[in-house]
Symmetry: C2
Subunit: 332 residues, 2 copies
């Protein structure tokens, strides 16, 4: 089969002929139709990720059709599926086990023509989505869903602030806020990205000096939930615009350390700062239920052919994207 193989830091990945994956018992062999990039893939190419081994076929997100499995799972044959993008969550809904790993390192990922995954990890692709749209969902939508719904405990009517709206996870958080009838505010450094999304409360450019003031004016009582993947100095401003009883959920820290925070700004209002990453298999199921029930469609940024995968990596690294970056497999 053809696949994108990463063989060294900063280069490729290269489109190559590789052996077909071996299908184990209780696994499904899937002929992939489309896959999607995540920032994780770019970090791995840069060498900035724990446990990198070469050569490796990356990719955590994929949509395809089951072409081979055990007789007892034959009802899956020819079904269009997406894949739960992790292994080894464990039994604790609160936190993944030490063995947890994301699809695409060290296990073969989705930037390939075929992949073999456990039957328990496959789910029907939402019928209202194209292959590309379905492939756009797994990792980013799961991370967004857990942060907003399981950790942030979002309810209809909640006022939710989503930072860095250009990012893939942030996009899904914003869409889930709409789907769950919340009130949305967004921030970005780019006024262009801010105009790309409907927000009911505010769309604030965080390079403005008074961005905290703009948020306070738009939502005087504070936000019930804030979802942030950036950290950095701006995190200190987010703390100040939380409502009493509010939850500040963070799933990343691309801008580094939080500033020095005064506990008095938080404990009297019983605020919560909640770390979140990925999501459990159960979270994946409830997320898919929401996508199906609300007919949510992910935003697709740019699509590339699988053989042009290296260009897709370069594009995501350039930071221009708005919406998911997709790889499309050829039809034959």
């Amino acid at each position: 089969m053809k696949a994108l193989q990463l063989t060294e830091i900063h280069k490729g990945p290269h489109y190559r002929e590789l052996p077909m994956p071996e299908r184990r018992a209780d696994h499904a062999l899937i002929k992939l139709k489309a896959s999607a990039l995540n920032r994780r893939d770019v970090w791995i190419r840069r060498g900035q990720y724990p446990g990198i081994t070469y050569p490796i076929v990356l990719g955590s997100d994929g949509c395809g059709v089951v072409c081979e499995t055990d007789a007892s799972h034959a009802h899956w044959i020819d079904k269009r599926v997406i894949i739960y993008p992790g292994y080894g969550w464990g039994n604790d809904e609160r936190v993944q086990s030490d063995e947890y790993r994301i699809l695409g390192l060290p296990d073969q990922g989705t930037f390939a023509e075929y992949i073999s995954v456990p039957i328990s990890h496959i789910h029907h692709a939402p019928a209202h989505l194209t292959d590309a749209e379905a492939a756009a969902c797994p990792l980013a939508a799961l991370t967004a869903w857990r942060a907003l719904k399981e950790r942030g405990r979002m309810q209809p009517g909640d006022k939710v602030l989503v930072t860095g709206i250009g990012g893939g996870v942030a996009q899904f958080v914003a869409q889930f806020v709409h789907a769950l009838n919340g009130q949305l505010a967004i921030t970005s450094s780019s006024t262009e990205k801010l105009s790309g999304l409907d927000s009911t409360l505010a769309a604030v450019c965080y390079v403005d000096d008074d961005w905290r003031g703009q948020l306070q004016a738009a939502c005087p009582g504070g936000f019930d939930i804030i979802v942030d993947g950036a950290g950095g100095a701006g995190f200190g401003e987010l703390v100040r615009v939380l409502a009493p009883g509010g939850r500040l959920v963070f799933y990343g820290g691309t801008r580094g350390r939080w500033p020095a925070i005064l506990p008095q700004h938080l404990f009297y209002k019983q605020a919560e700062i909640l770390g979140s990453t990925m999501g459990s298999p159960r979270d994946f199921g409830t997320m898919l239920n929401c996508i199906n029930a609300t007919q949510l469609k992910p935003t697709i940024g740019q699509s590339f052919r699988l053989e042009d995968g290296a260009d897709a990596f370069d594009y995501l690294e350039s930071g221009q994207q708005f919406g998911k970056v997709i790889l499309i497999n050829s039809d034959d």
Copy 2:
């Protein structure tokens, strides 16, 4: 009646003859037997508290006997009671309302011979406790209980770290950990205070350079729950000794700002940093159930006569205390 009246900053309070409190409908007039100081009282004397008005009778904690009420509440007459130490929590268990205020400012507090409080705020004093012990409980035990149980969601077997063990709230947290069959570690700046309490996991002096290392050695998997009232630079070390899925509950910040924290140390382990203050009327009920069921006895530090109240304030301010500082009313 006699009471301790605060009339100006930094002075007193003065033991004075004051009018009897007026009892309103659905209130109980209580003849107080004992009361207890909290750090809040010292802050108010220093002028470091929002909304201070003079003259004021302070005191959030008290134990006494109901001497007068409406006919419909007559079954409370002669009963020994303690008082829920707040007003106006509201209907949201998650956070108190804007109207919430603590007993003893602006409403008359417990450093007096008599107090009138709503019937709904009184509870039977635990039968196994003396008047002084019962008076020691309300505010500090409530704060400790909510932080540990409602916010930290402590379960039997949990590994719990309590910082600054000399404080009144910290003492109760430690006792509740024992009562709920948890495993306890404690920190203090004073080796003397560390030796005053049984701890099953570790007793670490946080002025030692390697105090984080000592905690990690005692609890290699990290703590399920940490309860902190100090903040300051040490808070950054606490973040590092949290277990995956761990909860760091904070109810104060006497040492000021947290240091700059790296989000990467927290989000992958799905850690939670949870603000907490006081507790709801429901929390007060579940706390009393625990004290009664486990026959928990608070640690009494030093007792003073009500008329020597100013000395009790000076003593608490000196930081020598280990356990609650009590005021005893004369028997006549």
